[in-house]
């Protein structure tokens, strides 16, 4: 024992605290058991010695008799507690209790029969008292008394377990009443001489018996047995009943046994007799009850498995996200109902065929099958006009009692069908039919109503589970994409200028916000030389990722060639050549490019299909719109000829507003913010800084659109010309 513990500790390595506390508990209960066992043995031995002395010395002392009775009773009380200790916290299944009891009863019966037939009664009956005539009688009395009394304790313990298997309101009360009356009978017996009887005794005896009968109706444990277990119970209870009958006959009619027992202890004798009667009645009742439960056992079994599998499936729905595991489990659970038949699960994929929107075809994909091959399924299910079509059409469960007689299985030869009956249950989710669960049995009329109900329930659960697993897959995928997009967003932010250019004479501010994570808007600045600053704002057609890619390409082109060309028009023509070779034919980029000469305030502007620049000067507010077309729309001379260039000389305090269509097309319902509102806002910008103007425009757009989120990328760039500065002929680095 010690060794095993040691190795256990090494192997498992429990936390120290738990180990010691459980060990302590172990030790105290072991000590308690040893004390109880030793106590009862010592007491019984003491009684035996007293009896031997009594017999040897042949003294008649009622005091000694009383002492032995008390000691013996104490011994048995300790024994009872020992039994309690040994079985404490354990719950034996009824069948095991019955089995153990049968063995115990068998031993006791054999012992009793052997002694009853082999040994003769050697007691002297005198004045309702028993006197052993020899030491042999004393010995036999002790052997029988001990074993029978111990047996009685075991019987009581077992019956208590069975009676209280499923507690009802009064089950405990009735059993306690039985034990109280049993004890009372014993106490009365204590005052009487072994063979003496009186009315009180008889009344108590019969009342106890009555309670035994009442308690014998507590047989609910039988219901929960499987059919096989019920059959075993039937056999066990029969033998137990017979064994108890033999015991009772011996206890009441065999003088050796009854005398030995009464001599051993009249109290325990009464209790033993009553316990055996209780056992007799109880197992008689068990036998009859089991017999009546047997016909429904199968149905009960099935119901139990159904409940269990539904429960399992229900748990599965929330736990299993692996699609393959899921369909495997669903089909194996369905198979349990099929009794040697087959089952399979198909997913139905709808696929539109041709251009007509209502011509739909379905593709059935078998994802799991049990007891059937794909060829057999294909042979059974024709491509058209079969059960599958009907289920898809009606979305209702279909049950065919006799496959051979059904028109949908006319292609299956008469007598050649391997299946007799079939159930097809649809898997319906929020988005419609997603699959069909089939179950077949070999015999026709094989599926009862409750079978069909369970299969339908399986199909329902399966559809939820499949839907769940799909959603989870989707959400994982979405999360991954979200992470990617967040990354892309950060990358793209870095493509926009990280700081504004600080150039004497120019006050500038800009903002760009994509409608989605990434967008196709672009703005940038370039220091062409120490006098001139280039400002570009662009918009790639479309939105999202594709636009973002072109946006980064535009940035590359701008950074690469803007310094090579002094005129905006030249730059745009070259940018178009660079971009056209790589841009998709339905995509284009609109761009506006202005170069400001800080020494003179001359602004030169070219526009490749982009929104016109708003020029706000003291007495005039207007859009500047030189001709041109979007980058990527055409190449060569067509593009170059269309491209114009316009120049204006800015006066100190003039404001130029560059923007993308996210500004003018900011929407409220069907209305747009539009050019006129922007123009009015420009008019009101006198005396304000570029930042202020930017904020005011944004604020106005925000209040204009209200709750509608901006549906387009939005970029706004405001330049304010402060006038040529005497010292600003040079741009500080």
């Amino acid at each position: 024992m010690k060794n095993i513990r040691g190795s256990d500790k090494d192997k498992v390595g429990f936390p120290l605290v738990r180990e010691t506390s459980s060990r302590r508990q172990d030790r105290t209960s072991r000590i308690r058991r040893v004390v109880l066992a030793m106590g009862s043995i010592v007491l019984v031995l003491a009684v035996f010695i007293i009896d031997v002395i009594r017999k040897a010395v042949d003294v008649e002392s009622s005091g000694l008799g009383l002492l032995r009775d008390v000691l013996l009773l104490l011994g048995f009380i300790l024994l009872w507690f020992l039994l309690e200790q040994l079985t404490r916290g354990k719950r034996f299944p009824p069948l095991r209790i019955l089995g153990m009891l049968l063995i115990a009863t068998g031993i006791v019966v054999i012992l009793s029969v052997v002694l009853a037939t082999g040994v003769s009664d050697n007691f002297d009956v005198k004045n309702n008292d028993l006197l052993p005539l020899g030491f042999d009688a004393l010995f036999v009395a002790f052997l029988l008394g001990l074993s029978l009394a111990f047996f009685a304790a075991v019987v009581m313990r077992s019956l208590r377990e069975l009676v209280l298997f499923k507690r009802r309101k009064h089950s405990r009360r009735n059993l306690v009443a039985f034990f109280v009356l049993l004890t009372a009978t014993g106490i009365v017996a204590f005052w009487l001489k072994p063979l003496e009887e009186n009315t009180l005794m008889s009344i108590l005896f019969f009342c106890t018996l009555g309670l035994a009968v009442m308690n014998s109706f507590r047989l609910s444990w039988i219901i929960y047995l499987t059919k096989r277990e019920k059959v075993i119970t039937l056999v066990y209870s029969f033998f137990l009943f017979v064994a108890f009958v033999i015991l009772n006959v011996l206890l009441n009619n065999n003088t050796l046994i009854s005398h030995s027992l009464l001599y051993f202890s009249d109290i325990l004798a009464k209790i033993t007799v009553l316990a055996c009667l209780f056992g007799n009645i109880y197992f008689g009742m068990t036998f009859v009850s089991t017999l009546f439960h047997l016909p429904t056992a199968e149905a009960f079994d099935r119901k139990t498995t159904e409940v269990a599998s539904l429960h399992n499936l229900g748990r599965l729905v929330t736990q299993v996200f692996d699609f393959h595991d899921l369909v495997e489990t669903v089909t194996s659970m369905t198979l349990q109902i099929c009794e040697g038949g087959s089952t399979w699960l198909e997913l139905i994929h709808s696929e539109s065929v041709g251009t007509a929107p209502d011509a739909k075809a379905y593709i059935a994909e078998v994802v799991a099958m049990k007891n059937i091959s794909l060829e057999e399924i294909e042979k059974l299910m024709l491509p058209a006009g079969d059960v599958r079509d009907d289920v898809i059409k009606t979305r209702e469960m279909l049950s065919i009692d006799d496959v051979e007689q059904d028109r949908r299985f006319a292609h299956v030869k008469k007598g050649g069908a391997t299946i007799g009956s079939l159930v097809a249950a649809p898997l319906v989710s929020r988005n419609g039919l997603i699959g069909i669960l089939y179950a077949t049995k070999k015999m026709s009329y094989g599926f009862f109503k409750d079978d069909v109900d369970v299969i339908t329930a399986f199909a329902d659960q399966a559809s939820i589970a499949i839907e769940n697993s799909r959603l989870i897959k989707k959400s994982i995928e979405r999360e991954r994409l979200m992470r990617e997009m967040t990354l892309a967003q950060e990358m793209q932010k870095k493509l926009l200028p990280q700081s504004l250019p600080s150039v004497y004479g120019i006050d500038v501010d800009a903002i760009s916000t994509p409608a989605f994570e990434v967008g196709g808007d672009y703005y940038d600045f370039v220091q062409l030389d120490d006098r001139r600053l280039g400002i570009v704002v662009g918009d790639v057609s479309g939105k999202g990722v594709s636009a973002a890619f072109y946006m980064s390409e535009v940035k590359g082109i701008f950074q690469a060639i803007s310094r090579l060309h002094n005129s905006p028009r030249e730059f745009i023509i070259h940018a178009n050549e660079a971009l056209s070779s790589s841009i998709d034919k339905h995509s284009f980029v609109s761009l506006i490019y202005a170069v400001i000469d800080t020494s003179s305030g001359l602004l030169t502007l070219s526009r490749a299909g982009h929104c016109p620049m708003l020029h706000v000067s003291k007495n005039k507010v207007r859009y500047l719109r030189p001709g041109g077309m979007g980058l990527g729309m055409s190449r060569g001379t067509v593009f170059a000829n269309a491209m114009q260039e316009e120049s204006i000389t800015l006066a100190a305090g003039d404001v130029c507003i560059f923007y993308t269509d996210g500004v003018t097309e900011a929407r409220r319902g069907d209305d747009e913010y539009g050019y006129d509102r922007l123009l009015e806002r420009g008019k009101a910008s006198a005396g304000k800084s570029a930042s202020q103007i930017k904020e005011e425009v944004l604020e106005e757009i925000k209040s204009y659109t209200g709750d509608h989120p901006n549906h387009d990328d939005l970029t706004l760039l405001v330049v304010k010309w402060m006038g040529p500065h005497a010292a600003a002929q040079k741009v500080p680095s």
């Binding site: 057609s541 339905h586 729309m633 055409s634 269309a642 269509d661």
Partner: protein, 126 residues
Amino acid sequence: MSEFNISQRETKDVNVLEIKGYLDAHTAPKLEDAFQGLLKSSKYKIVVNCKDLSYISSAGLGVFMAFVEDVRKNKGDIKLSNMSPKVFNIFDLLGFPLLYDILADESEAINRFLDSKPIIPGNAKK
């Protein structure tokens, strides 16, 4: 959300697409399908009537650019007509009038096709 519809008819060998509502990234595939259908059945004389077109985004404009090349290769054209001033402004900003025939009236556009010598103002994507 945004509604977009196309109705199609054939007048004197010229196919007219009447587009209605919002043409943006969501609805552009509808117009693409319509063009694809026409090209499949070798119809290259196409007039797009924009009478009820209330908005067109860059993705919508892209649809015309995607098909005009193939159509012109087959001696046909995509002509646009009946634009509201607002919609015309969007086309105009991008320089579409430099590449496409944009006419005030549908019949005018059809007649352009019937004149033996089509006047194409520019060649898209040489």
